[in-house]
């Protein structure tokens, strides 16, 4: 068995980042988009924890916990906005919400 190296973490992280990014750009449902954003955040978290482990520095893990907290808050606010939006527009499709232009 090969030991799990930092590189493995980084590959996973990149994979998650790419999946998240593509999800954000391509999916129309805002719930999915929010989930994709969580994926991106978690990619970052993995990155932070991996380097913390490799470098023996706890700062990265602490930062990761902050990110998680932040993600929770962000998800809460995002879902709240989403519900308010749905009440007004009766849709959660991102491409149907395009009023914010000149």
């Amino acid at each position: 068995m090969y030991p799990i190296t930092t590189l493995h973490y980084l590959v996973l992280s990149v994979a998650l980042l790419l999946i998240g990014t593509v999800g954000v750009l391509t999916r129309r449902n805002i719930v999915i988009i929010l989930m994709s954003i969580e994926l991106i955040l978690n990619a970052v978290n993995i990155n932070l924890v991996a380097f913390s482990h490799a470098l023996h520095n706890l700062g990265g893990q602490i930062f990761a916990i902050f990110v998680i907290t932040d993600a929770v808050a962000e998800a809460a606010v995002g879902l709240g906005i989403l519900i308010a939006l749905f009440r007004n527009k009766e849709t959660v499709q991102a491409d149907e919400i395009d009023l914010l232009k000149w």
Partner: protein, 727 residues
């Protein structure tokens, strides 16, 4: 009692009467509601002139009954009573004046117009002041006695004549108001106050001519009188202003002393500022005293009630012009050229009016033209410098012309409103008192020796002949007029009182002599017409001493020149005066006899002559077409034509200016609007358009889709990343 200091009361009495009548008279003489306009029964009479100046006053015959309000008697007492009081005060004042050595008494009641500083023509600073003051001198004393004396008699007469008329109180109110203004006119101590009276009598004249206001011709006649008088008044005002600017005062005493001081030379042969002044004032006099060219209102003024014609349009008001010119004698002495004009106009008016009177058929019209003619005589006398003679004739004329008018009123009264002499005749025995008094008046005006008219008229003719300013031509015109006067007066007498009766039978039944209130004044005036002349017996009648010539002496002080005239007069031979006198009596007798022959004995002759000289007769009958000429020249020409011209001017020039200004404003606003739309708005819009164009590419990027923005972010990040990696 010192009447001299109470002369301010003289005009005040009639004013009180007028105020009483006009303010509370309505309750003294309540009008019957049913008969407001014309009393029923008698139709207005037209005399075929087409002017329709028949009198619609229409005395109701007796079966209509007398509407006697109990208080009406009070009017009968108050109004003539006030004039009588004035007469008593006047007589007292004149008596006391004759006791004064200087024969002038001036009372200034209060300052009317306080000192107004102004620059005279010479550049000198003067103060103008007019007082409410009264001047009693021999001239005004004659006038106030005539106004109040004759005025009182005519008031008494009116109580009978107007008894059946509606508006009784109104009539007497106006009449008293007239007496007030007339007394103001003759008692004023300056021209401005005189002018107040002058305008006041004009107003009363207007009111009384239009007394039967429901009749259109009466209203028109009133307006005509008012307007024609206004024309003359304009001249008078200008004359006064010129006098103010040259002499600096309008007070008679100051004006006369300034003019007699020698500061002003006689404007002989020339036409200077004084001549202009006197000519303007004379123009004012032609309006009030009915001279050519402004006499046209007086014949029409006969639309008024007959007592008004007698008092205002024969005896007093129309002589105001004569009085004014006589009052300005100092001025006219200095201006021989104006005096010549005055004499010429007077003579021309005299013969013109007399010629018209020859063929008129309305009894009052004949007398109206006779008045114009006699006023012409007065101006002839004024023009030749015989001022006292003019006043003398004014005095005697007031008696016999008032008498003649009142008699004609009595005739009209008897005939139930008929004025056309062709429908009269043979009235001699039916109304004897009227006939005999009118006979006296006609003899007096014709100039038969011994009666008033003879003395004054003969004196005028003598002065026209002998005075330095007179001439044979003036005398000839005068004596021709005398012949015409005798003829037309006796034509009137014969047509009215003698010969065959042409009275309609239904009228003839009602003919009755007038009541005593009318006949008594007639008798008094007839006595006056006989006696009034004996104050100025001709010089040639050496049988009478100077006390028979008191009139000239009495009037000497106001006319400083009269003494001079008297001196030159003495040089002429008495035999010449006798010859002229005989001539004038001869033409008078010829005139009377001819009239008797034509209109009583051979009544077909006048028609034959009329047919033979058709154009002349038509010309005279239509009053020389002067009214038509004035209508053409002034009413239609200057008035309406000028109105049209001014209307065109208004439409084209004034309106054109306004419209042009409007058009210009609109045009500039168009330009401004175009500028605003295309340049200002254009610039703004272009700016916005420019910005829009610039922003267009950026706008394409702003889709409003969140994911697109996210894509841009990702692309951006990749681009940055790529940039750093590749480098």
């Amino acid at each position: 009692m010192n009447f001299l200091d109470q002369i301010w009361l003289i005009p005040l009495f009639p004013l009180f009467g007028a105020a009483l009548m006009l303010l509370v008279g309505k309750w003294l003489d309540p009008q019957p509601a049913s008969a407001v306009a014309v009393a029923p029964g008698v139709e207005p009479v037209a005399d075929g002139h087409g002017h329709g100046h028949g009198q619609a006053k229409a005395h109701p015959t007796h079966e209509h009954g007398h509407v006697h309000a109990p208080l009406k008697k009070l009017i009968n007492i108050i109004c003539p009573g006030m004039v009588l009081l004035s007469f008593i005060f006047s007589a007292g004042a004149v008596w006391q004046l004759s006791q004064l050595p200087q024969k002038v008494h001036e009372v200034i009641q209060f300052t009317w117009i306080a000192g107004l500083p102004f620059h005279m023509a010479t550049g000198q600073l003067a103060t103008f002041q007019a007082d409410w003051g009264f001047l009693l001198d021999p001239l005004s004393s004659v006038m106030i006695l005539v106004v109040t004396g004759i005025g009182f008699l005519i008031h008494v007469y009116s109580t009978g004549y107007m008894a059946h008329d509606n508006g009784y109180y109104r009539f007497f109110g106006y009449l008293n108001l007239f007496v007030f203004f007339m007394l103001m006119l003759v008692l004023a101590n300056n021209y401005l106050l005189l002018f107040v009276g002058w305008e006041g009598v004009g107003l009363c004249s207007y009111l009384l001519i239009g007394f039967y206001y429901h009749k259109k011709s009466a209203g028109d006649a009133g307006k005509k009188a008012f307007v024609v008088n206004r024309v003359g008044d304009a001249g008078f005002i200008l004359g006064m202003l010129l006098m103010m600017s040259v002499l600096g005062t309008l007070r008679f005493v100051d004006v006369n002393s300034a003019l007699r001081s020698g500061r002003f030379a006689v404007e002989a042969g020339g036409f200077g500022v004084l001549s202009a002044m006197s000519l303007l004032m004379f123009f004012g006099a032609t309006g009030k005293s009915a001279q050519v060219p402004l006499y046209v209102w007086l014949p029409d003024a006969m639309e008024g009630p007959t007592p008004v014609s007698a008092l205002i349009h024969a005896a007093t008001m129309v002589t105001a012009g004569v009085y004014m010119v006589a009052r300005s004698s100092a001025l006219f002495e200095l201006t021989p050229s104006t005096s010549t004009v005055v004499a010429a106009i007077g003579a021309f008016t005299a013969i013109l009016a007399a010629s018209i009177a020859l063929v008129q058929n309305d009894i009052k019209r004949v007398l109206a033209y006779s008045t114009v003619s006699q006023l012409g005589y007065m101006f002839l006398a004024l023009g030749v410098g015989a001022y006292w003679v003019a006043i003398f004739h004014l005095f005697t004329h007031a008696f016999f012309k008032a008498l003649l008018f009142l008699c004609s009123g009595s005739v009209i009264h008897a005939m139930g409103g008929e004025q056309d002499m062709r429908r009269m005749g043979g009235l001699k025995d039916k109304i004897p008192i009227t006939h005999w008094t009118m006979w006296v008046g006609s003899v007096a005006i014709a100039g038969i020796p011994g009666l008033a008219g003879f003395f004054s008229k003969d004196e005028i003719l003598w002065q026209a002949y002998s005075s330095p300013k007179g001439s044979t031509l003036l005398w000839l015109v005068g004596i021709a007029t005398a012949a015409l006067t005798a003829f037309y007066m006796w034509r009137l007498m014969n047509m009215t009182f003698y010969g065959k009766s042409h009275v309609a039978p239904e009228v003839a039944a009602h003919i009755h002599e007038s009541p005593a209130s009318m006949t008594v004044p007639l008798v008094v005036l007839a006595i006056g017409s006989v006696l009034a002349g004996w104050m100025g017996v001709p010089k040639a009648w050496s049988l009478f001493n100077d006390s028979w010539r008191g009139f000239a002496a009495w009037l000497a002080p106001p006319f400083a020149s009269a003494a001079k005239e008297a001196a030159t007069e003495g040089e002429h031979s008495a035999s010449m005066e006798w010859i002229l006198m005989a001539l004038s009596v001869a033409v008078a007798i010829i005139g009377i006899s001819l009239a008797r022959y034509f209109y009583c004995i051979r009544t077909e002759i006048p028609e034959r002559i009329g047919a033979r000289c058709k154009p002349l007769h038509t010309l005279l009958y239509n009053k020389w077409y002067v009214d038509e000429l004035y209508d053409f020249l002034f009413v239609n020409g200057l008035g309406k034509g000028g109105g049209r011209v001014l209307g065109a001017f208004d439409r084209n020039v004034v309106d054109g200016g306004v419209n042009g200004a409007g058009w210009l404003t609109r045009f500039t606003s168009r330009v401004s609007m175009w500028w605003d739309t295309w340049i200002i708005d254009g610039a703004v819009r272009f700016g916005s358009f420019f910005v829009k164009m610039l922003s267009y590419p950026v706008c394409i990027l702003q889709t409003g889709r969140v994911q697109a923005y996210a894509l841009f972010v990702v692309v951006g990040v990749l681009a940055l990343l790529g940039y750093y990696v590749v480098r």
